[in-house]
Structures are given as structure tokens and as C-alpha cells.
């Protein structure tokens, strides 16, 4: 197993997770972000997810399609199942005034499962190409900042200190580097499962975008802002991919 690439996967996965700490940024500057800003942050996160899905799809277009599609269905069912199992299918993720411990627990669970799927995406990209993997990890780093801002909009009003809110944000993303390294290691050991693994990542992150990020965004910001933010973010990711050597 190429040790360099494994370390790079761990390193860039960790950078992506650590970036989540910047999610407390608005509060650190003494400002409570408006609902609209949280909505646009969710839209940005959603657009980056769609862009990441697009990149994986375009990489997978040369591989066999049926295993990829089967993997995608599995990825969709995995996230659906984890929501159904945890009772979080219709959970509103950004309710600043909801203070029950049950709610806080569910939000953290949802965010952790969410980043596990993203970790698989990073691992797949790392296996395909080092630069692609780094690019993917950096895209998720930006995504994590936006997402952590939304998470902090729940944590900070509940009296969680800024330091702890930043730490919790990073903590919910720790599954990213872990799953990235695990996915990369499994792919190195068994390259034949690349198509279904790639499909799994695509299915999972698209489903996550549709059931978590977008519905949340629409309750917070106007649909024009959401649409433009997400569409531009998605096309930017697709275009930047072309510049990778």
C-alpha cells in the first residue's frame, strides 16, 4: 500500500475536518449570523456537494455502469436507512430555539453520519488520483465551514462556548479523514470494488444534499439566493476540475 498516498489521504482529510472550526467565524467577530446567511451557507454546502458528485460521476463514466449504479442505490439506501433507524428522516437541523438534549443529540448524530459519506468520497478520489483527492478534500473543507456555521447556529444559542462549538464542529467531521483512509486502504487492497464504491459515494452525497441541506436552506433564505449560490458553486467545482493537470 503506497504509504505516501495513505498519509496524504489522512492529512487532507484532517485538513477538511479541521476547517470546520472556522464555522464559528461569524460569532468570533461578535455577530450572530442572520437566518438568511445560514440558509445561503447551507446552499453553498449543497452546491459543493453536487459539484463533488458531478466530479465522481465524470470520473466513473469510463468504468462499468451497472456496478456503479448498484453502488449508488446502496449509498442512497444506506443514508435513508440510517435516517429511518435514528428517527431523523424529517429532522429540522437548524432550530436555534430548540433546546432539548434529544434534539442536540440527533443533530450531532446526523452530522457525523453525513461526514462519513463525504469521507468515502475523499477516499475514492484519492485512489483515482492524488491531485483529484486533494481537490476533493479542499472542496469538502469549504463545504465543512459552511456546514459548521449552520451547526453553530444551533450550538451557540444553546450556551455552548465558541471554543467548544468549534471543537464539536470538527468532531462531527472526524469521520471524514477516518472513512477516507479506510476507503482508500480497502480500494488499494481490492481495486475491483472501485465502481460500486464510487457509486456509493455519489448516491449517498446526492441523497444527503436533497434530504438535509436543501430543505433546510429553503426554510431560511429566499429560493433565488439559494438557487444562484448552489448552481454557481456546483459549476465552479466542475470547472476547477478541468484545471487539474
Amino acid at each position: 500500500m503506497p504509504v505516501d498516498r495513505t498519509l496524504a489521504t489522512l492529512l487532507y482529510g484532517a485538513i477538511a475536518a479541521a476547517a470546520a472550526a472556522f464555522g464559528v467565524g461569524p460569532w468570533a467577530f461578535g455577530r450572530r449570523p442572520s437566518r438568511r446567511l445560514i440558509g445561503l451557507a447551507n446552499a453553498l454546502a449543497a452546491g459543493l456537494m453536487l459539484g463533488a458528485a458531478y466530479i465522481l460521476v465524470s470520473e466513473g463514466l469510463t468504468g462499468p455502469a451497472a456496478p456503479g449504479a448498484a453502488g449508488a442505490v446502496l449509498g442512497i439506501l444506506f443514508v435513508y436507512g440510517s435516517h429511518a433507524f435514528g428517527g431523523t428522516a424529517d429532522l429540522q437541523l437548524n432550530l436555534p430555539d430548540e433546546v432539548s438534549p434529544e434534539y442536540g443529540y440527533k443533530v450531532v448524530v446526523v452530522n457525523s453520519l453525513h461526514s462519513a459519506s463525504e469521507g468515502i468520497a475523499i477516499g475514492v478520489a484519492m485512489f483515482l488520483d492524488l491531485r483529484l483527492g486533494i481537490f476533493m478534500a479542499l472542496a469538502f473543507a469549504v463545504h465543512n465551514v459552511a456546514e459548521a456555521t449552520a451547526l453553530c447556529s444551533v450550538l451557540v444559542p444553546r450556551g455552548v462556548s465558541l471554543g467548544r462549538a468549534a471543537a464539536l464542529s470538527v468532531l462531527t467531521d472526524v469521520s471524514q479523514p477516518l472513512m477516507a483512509v479506510a476507503t482508500y486502504a480497502v480500494l488499494v487492497a481490492a481495486p475491483v470494488i472501485l465502481p460500486p464504491t464510487l457509486g456509493f459515494a455519489v448516491g449517498a452525497i446526492i441523497y444527503l444534499t436533497v434530504v438535509e441541506l436543501l430543505p433546510e436552506a429553503y426554510t431560511q433564505a429566499h429560493e433565488v439566493g439559494i438557487g444562484v449560490t448552489a448552481a454557481v458553486a456546483m459549476s465552479a467545482v466542475a470547472v476547477l476540475r478541468v484545471f487539474l493537470p
Partner: protein, 248 residues
């Protein structure tokens, strides 16, 4: 065939785009058996349409970025602006019609205008897709034709309870999609004449489609449907669309 490939191609674009427009009329058919359509049905039809259109936009982007990087990006943003501009135009209409105390008449007219306005983008998408190659065009045509059916359903759901006949529902649905063949031909000819603009046009179609999903279809879905079935339907139809593009 009259031996002029350009003319026969234009006729083919016109034909396919007309087919997508006619598909809109199918949206009236459920009213043959349904007394009233639940808002949930529209929500989930929208989710399926969204998945198909996102899948199609992936194909358009992949095709566009083969010709360059900045061009599809610029094109996508122009597509976004185009949809925004048509919406703004619509909002102005909205205010104008809103001041009229014409109850149902206003609402019926408005839904037809809404659908007709975004059919312009769809027509451009069809025309641009044909320029991108016949395989992709077939999928975009299928995607848009299928996407038109729930649109026709939405129009019919407004018209039918207000006493219009099923034939009138189908007629107005098709009418709302007529901009498709009308726009498809100039978009196709434009692309033919200016090959270098192809990545712009493909990006334009992708941007317009993604924004249409995010602006028109998904908000309505979330309003009337539950997240999990919306997510399942959208992601599965996206995967289905990618499979179609891969295999045919």
C-alpha cells in the same frame, strides 16, 4: 429528405422539440381517472423531474468541459442569469395580474405564463443538446419530455378544478411548452453557425436546468411532500438518467 442535411437536421430538432411540447399535454390525462390530484403527487412528480434534469445537467457539463473550462462556466452563469431575468419579468407580470380582482382567471393565466416562460430555457437546452451530439440530445429530449408531464399536471391541477375541460387542460399545457420548439431551432442553428460557442451553450443549458430545479421544482416539492420520498425519487431518477446516458 430533400438532400439538404442542414434543413433535415433543423426539421428533426423542430420535430423532437414539438414532441417534448406535446408530452406536456399528457399531464392532463390523470384527470380522466382522478377527481382531484393531491398536492403530494405534484411534489413527487417534481422530485422525479428534478433527478432527471440534474442527471442531464451532469451530462451537459461533462460534454461542455471537454471543449474548455471557462466557457461552460461562463455559459452556466449566463443560463442562471437567463432564468433569473425571465423570473423577474414574470414577477412584474405577477404584480400586474395580482392587482386585478379576477379571482380564478388570474391564477389560471399565471400558471400558464410561468410554465411558458421557463419553457424558453428548455427549448434552448434541447437545441443546444442537439448540437452537442445526437445521443445526448435524445436523453435531454426524453428528460424534458418526461419533465413536461408533471408541468402539464401542475397546469391541469389549477385549470381543472376551475371548470375547464380536460381537452382545454391538455391544450393549455401544450401551449405553455410551445416556446420549446420555437427556441430550440434558433438555439440549434446558432450553435451550428458558431461552433466555438458550443461549450457556452452546453454550460448555459446545464446552468438553466440546475437553477430551474432549485427555483421552480424543489421548493414546491418540499412544501407538499416529505423529505425521504423526495430524496429517494430524486436520487434514483438521477441514477437512472446517468445509466441511460451511459448505455444508449
Amino acid at each position: 429528405m430533400n438532400g439538404d442535411p442542414e434543413t433535415s437536421q433543423i426539421l428533426r430538432v423542430l420535430l423532437w422539440a414539438t414532441v417534448t411540447a406535446l408530452a406536456t399535454g399528457l399531464g392532463a390525462l390523470p384527470f380522466l381517472v382522478l377527481r382531484r390530484v393531491t398536492s403530494g403527487a405534484v411534489a413527487y412528480a417534481n422530485a422525479i423531474a428534478s433527478g432527471l434534469m440534474l442527471g442531464a445537467s451532469f451530462g451537459l457539463l461533462a460534454e461542455g468541459t471537454e471543449h474548455g473550462a471557462w466557457q461552460p462556466f461562463v455559459g452556466a452563469n449566463l443560463g442562471v442569469l437567463f432564468i433569473l431575468a425571465t423570473r423577474r419579468w414574470l414577477d412584474e407580470r405577477d404584480i400586474e395580474f395580482g392587482s386585478v380582482r379576477g379571482e380564478g382567471a388570474r391564477k389560471m393565466l399565471l400558471i400558464v405564463i410561468v410554465m411558458a416562460v421557463h419553457s424558453f430555457a428548455e427549448g434552448v437546452a434541447v437545441g443546444a443538446a442537439f448540437a452537442g451530439g445526437l445521443t445526448l440530445a435524445a436523453f435531454v429530449t426524453i428528460a424534458i419530455a418526461i419533465h413536461n408531464i408533471p408541468e402539464g399536471l401542475a397546469i391541469s391541477a389549477v385549470l381543472r378544478p376551475r371548470g375547464r375541460s380536460i381537452a382545454a387542460c391538455a391544450g393549455w399545457s401544450v401551449f405553455s411548452s410551445l416556446p420549446q420548439p420555437l427556441m430550440a431551432v434558433p438555439a440549434f442553428v446558432f450553435v451550428e453557425a458558431f461552433r466555438p460557442s458550443l461549450p457556452y451553450a452546453l454550460g448555459f443549458a446545464a446552468g438553466a436546468m440546475v437553477l430551474m430545479v432549485l427555483l421552480e421544482l424543489l421548493p414546491e416539492s418540499y412544501e407538499h411532500g416529505r423529505r425521504a420520498p423526495i430524496g429517494i425519487l430524486l436520487s434514483l431518477s438521477l441514477v437512472g438518467m446517468l445509466l441511460l446516458q451511459r448505455y444508449l
